[in-house]
Symmetry: D3
């Protein structure tokens, strides 16, 4: 099966490391294509970045349906645009936060989430509430690190590890969720060090995507996730007009 | 004071009727400027439309700060992009859903919301939950009407009135919230007919905006609503790059 | 317009400083009349004081309607008697806790509340829950200070400031809400010192009251806030009998 | 032991029927003294009545401690003044709503509450939320009956029975809670007719009061329910001043 | 009346100390019979123990109905099997966690729970959520002590006392709930030391059981707690078959 | 990989149809072994049955680890014993309710659950609350059908279909969750008829189990899901003693 993994930011090193994580976990009969949109932010570290990444994501979804993709993963822990993406396609659309929360809940009774930078703490809190998962989360912590530093600065791994150890030793976290797609590369080492499940959302989402495709299930097109109405978009976004339902 | 009212869709008849509602309620010393963005959807009737309207909204916020606006109203009941808008400016940013929920809670113990079309019911439910207002809402109802029909089709007023009467008589609603900016024009007649408060979010938001400006209060720039980081946006959205903080 | 600000306690120094705060923020065309009831507690520091202040508040509401007031502010952070006051009059009735929570939610994603003395912490917690605002509140803190000391003891300002600084630096509060009407006088200095919004409920309530009067909106008289039934009150409270609806 | 049952309204027929219900269920070694306060409303059918009943209730609590009572029951389903009453005395104070909710939760997985008149539906909803019991309640229903009619109008029993039957047959209620102390007299017949537990709050509260006295437990005087501060009350309420702690 | 107190574990020293606590508080006309089931775990310190204790509990309920018991107390703070027990009998069935939460809520506005060992913290958290009591609980703390050590190791009392003191002094707990039936023996001393209510669930449950029996109330047999269907159980559990309804 | 699917009841026709559903969806490299425990109820239709099925389930988990299974599915919609099973093994343990709720949340914004018989409605409601999924569920409905009738009585399919159609047409369900493992056989036809996703929990659980095994993830053994303590079980359950950790 063909799964499109959309890194909503345009930093290709990050797309590459997300692609590595996805391919590493995908089944041999799964083809992973990881892309950055042709438009949007270098990284997602604010509501502004979050929303500005959505047109690019939706563009990739639209193209993806023509390219024959059977599932989509939106590889940013803010799950940007996931509800709109589900309108655009019948194929399942996975947000990595949602996927990681569900898998973590099966593996551990209580867990903590480490995100970056500070502002994404509020974004994540609201997301957890939206998914109804507050009761499982011990703490949400934010590192003082820019997202793209994970690709460039080896010391980031240490800061992440320190915070993860504190979560386990002081906050009673029984698993750690990596609250940023840029942390995917550290998951394995971290899990070895900590001895508890360390869940990377990209991995979680790819595996659930495979499952849903296997099930021949599709997004419900009744009511909420029905295709968007035929409608013009104007100006800079004219190419986002919907011409048929 | 100068308040910018942003109708996030590009249907100018609707911008005009929103402008009427805003000017009608604004104080004599308040200047209302109502705009549609230069890009985006004709109307907002899906998550797709909601997100696609945000770049245009944010563009208007950025321009607005240079134009000397002291407050912003985002005139769509999905409150699209409101958190990002609060990052971009120190001036207060009002969503019409949030504003109407707060004012209604002061005037009535329980109320219902009428939105349109069906899919926006889910959007509104999630928004109510996000604002913590579930306990005040009797029902959220959706009309089978396209948003722009409110500008064109006089019979829409009847459908809205019928549903409002049912809300009051059968669902114990003690006030009605108009869950779409396109309904603003019907608020006064409806209130006269029903004998309970009918709250239009545009009106509510303009008045709270005036209040906050009077208070010389500004959006907190600490942590969550700090200005977005300096960062490039690429492709179609290049003009949305942030060059200074 | 004429707004009556009711300081539910009988300490006139406090009524004076509440009056100053209200007049300072009111529009030039707003007349503020601040009163203490003719009966009730010197200050509100317990459920006992809270409830004992309500007859005096309701007395002021009843007189207020004859005096031509168009809106009422109940200036104690426990919002004593606010639901009963809304039954007694069609004019809007504002509690300062409710008003400050709503305005703060527009200006900051997360905030803390500082109240006094300890017992009011529980009162405030239950009030926050009643208004559905738990998810916005980082912490509720109580100072070891008697309410009337704010009028008499300059060192109280220092204790308040220390706690506010800790809220911002250690608890991630992005705004501070003053959980006692007696703190109104310190709001401006505190905001200058902290650099985040410091919200005084009296100010918030006066401004929302002006807004609602401008909107020609009134309390819904359908069901919950209908006028109280015609009914005798006996004994000491005989004068509180309701003779007409 | 001596238990004081306070009917917060001044309708003595109702005090009598509450006294009957309480005495009927009390142990032989329990002395029940049922009183109406010397001040306050004829019946409680609004927030106004609710709050106006509290001074009289608190007066009875104060006198009660001098009279040697070991527990108090506040016999109105709005639980008026219960938190203040707990401040005034070390003896346990029972609200009949709280007591009935707890006992019902032990006897039935889901139940409905029937109150009167309409406005008390909102009061009851907020009380259920305050006690954390929403998940157990199928429906809260209000009868179009004045409270004192239960003492005077035999047809009220029929209306109550009809609504209770509907609750069981249509709303899946597995028990019925009588949401007004005036309904106590109908509990036994109703339970015989319905075949499910019918819980009268007066009965529930008297039994839990006996239990707590047996346990030699007292209200915690640490923090929230500490005795009120020494403080003057002025005007009509001067006699409510607190002279010692 | 005859009340059966079921210690769900098979450690007879613990059954004895539970029996002492129950008899000590029971009325003179109440006969307490405390038993351990004929099967099941030595102590309950995990979900595994919790569920493995249930067949033995249900066996005692079945036998109890033949032996003429009028109420049952399940004396483990996980309230194991309480819903199934309510299906098996019309007599009231009390869980000690549920009973203690309700009585504590009447005596203190906020309280903490001390359980043992660590894993039971999660069990207790989920139970509190199930009963809707989160808003009353300051903290749930777990001691690093095996349950049966309470019977054997005098130093356990010290550890419990230390944690209870911290709860009161640092966590603002206004009462302490003993989250393990093995702690019953320390309740009185602890309360004397702390000066706040210390609630033992066995005591709370026995007293509420007496109350419900006095009220001639029974478990609702409509829907949820109806008797189990006639049905075979096979293998080791064959004796648990239900032969008549 | 080897996955053990445990039908917690002892009705082998049902184990067979569960096995069919599981094998039908499993990957070709997955070996499905479906079993009924050697002890326990014929079907699960009450809390009694639920708890009585757990020893048999846990027995199958213990044996499973020796047999080399890498994941477990507990195929009853009450998710009986799932937390204890997670203590017993490091392999992932899936409840079919939990699995179906998570997958459904990815495919549909709102869904309904159809269970059987009536009493399981309460069980399911409490389970949904436990998993934090209330906001996604439109309605939980119960059929008046015994669980094993699904294997024997062809007309059950019709009743299920009728209720599912009503859920979609009247209750705004955008997907249907089959709230009983015995309904698995009808999922495909129902989905064809309804045109919305029909989620069978067995299928959902098998696919997530495969995913977690692929990820080389295991249940967290820190704190909550640590192996049970070494401990004797007595009497009938002696064979459930834990001899090593």
């Amino acid at each position: 099966m063909k799964i499109k993994v959309i890194n909503p930011n345009t930093t290709l090193e990050m797309t590459k490391s997300i692609d590595d994580a996805a391919k590493n976990i995908a089944r041999t009969d799964t083809e992973i294509f990881s892309v950055s949109p042709t438009m949007g932010p270098e990284s997602i570290e604010s509501y502004y970045d979050d929303y500005m990444s959505i047109p690019g994501i939706l563009d990739e979804i639209k193209k993806g349906d023509q390219e024959g993709f059977e599932a989509y993963v939106i590889a940013c822990y803010a799950d940007p645009g996931v509800h709109a993406a589900r309108e655009l396609t019948s194929a399942p659309v996975l947000g990595i936060a949602e996927a990681s929360l569900y898998l973590a809940s099966i593996l551990a009774a209580r867990f903590s989430i480490i995100t970056t930078p500070y502002r994404m703490k509020t974004v994540t809190e609201d997301l957890i509430q939206h998914y109804g998962m507050n009761h499982r989360v011990q703490k949400i912590k934010a590192l003082p690190i820019a997202v793209i530093d994970f690709e460039k600065n080896p010391s980031c791994a240490n800061l992440l590890k320190e915070e993860a150890i504190k979560s386990v030793q002081e906050d009673d976290a029984e698993a750690i969720l990596l609250g940023c797609a840029g942390m995917a590369q550290f998951a394995e080492d971290l899990q070895n060090d900590l001895g508890v499940p360390v869940i990377d959302g990209v991995v979680a989402a790819v595996k659930i995507a495979e499952s849903i495709v296997d099930m021949h299930q599709a997004t419900s097109k009744l009511k909420t996730y029905d295709f968007p109405e035929i409608k013009s978009q104007s100006g800079l976004l004219e190419s986002f007009s919907i011409n048929k339902k």
